[in-house]
Symmetry: C2
């Protein structure tokens, strides 16, 4: 293994734009793993750059840490994921993305219907029905890969 194949946490942070403290946090959450030097310092593989990229993209799409952990669980254990592995998991991400887009479009169309009447009334108006509430709660959109309805 060449020296350039392993990265310190600082190097990984610098290459990904993710802070050192955030990387350590992700490790405690099981999103990423490091091996250790004799002096207990973390060392990462170059493949972890891609893993971290996936994490940040997925976050941008609204997935929670737990949702991302779930998605990453589909990657092979015991070997470094290859391009095909990443392509597969990216397609799952794409599906989640399409669903979120469709949901926003539905909301927009309902809003269009409401602009005319100016009703904007919960329960009465199609725009906001109580069944949607679970999805709307919390800080930002939450949905899990492969879970159409989102968390209960």
């Amino acid at each position: 293994m060449r020296a350039t194949d392993v990265l310190t946490i600082g190097q990984l942070a610098e290459r990904t734009g993710v802070s050192v403290s955030a990387i350590r946090f992700y490790e405690t959450k099981g999103l990423i793993t490091a091996f250790r030097t004799q002096g207990d310092q973390r060392r990462f593989l170059r493949a972890d750059i891609r893993r971290l990229s996936f994490i940040r993209i997925a976050q941008h799409l609204g997935l929670s840490i737990d949702g991302i952990a779930e998605a990453l669980a589909s990657l092979p254990h015991g070997r470094t994921p290859n391009a095909a592995d990443w392509a597969k998991i990216s397609r799952a991400l794409r599906a989640a993305l399409n669903e979120r887009i469709a949901e926003l479009e539905r909301t927009r169309d309902k809003l269009d219907g409401c602009i005319g009447c100016g009703c904007l009334s919960l329960k009465k108006c199609a725009l906001y029905n109580p069944g949607d509430r679970a999805r709307a709660l919390g800080a930002g959109p939450r949905f899990v890969l492969g879970d159409k309805a989102g968390p209960v």
Copy 2:
């Protein structure tokens, strides 16, 4: 003013599906105002149902409490907003919505380009460039009505 024109906080909660504690919280944040009975209990107007609906819809679209307060500031002060007022503010909401949809579509298209190569590499890949980072941070999407770049 008929008795049916005013609502207790419990009635407002029941009609909107928003919890009593959340309504009180919104009041402390200035999103909604109530007048008080002699015994210091809150009383709301029926128009506040619409106001609360707007708040929840805007939240669902990813606006922060502060962003919603800003949007609501464009409503007339001193009189109950009418249908035209709500239509105007709803159009602003629609614009924010369209922007968010467009952003997600751009992300999806970049992701499509990346599935082929399986690159998924921060900085190198078009999918995630550091300039986007400010927008991606925090819990869920943040954007302010009429603010293209989002909060600084």
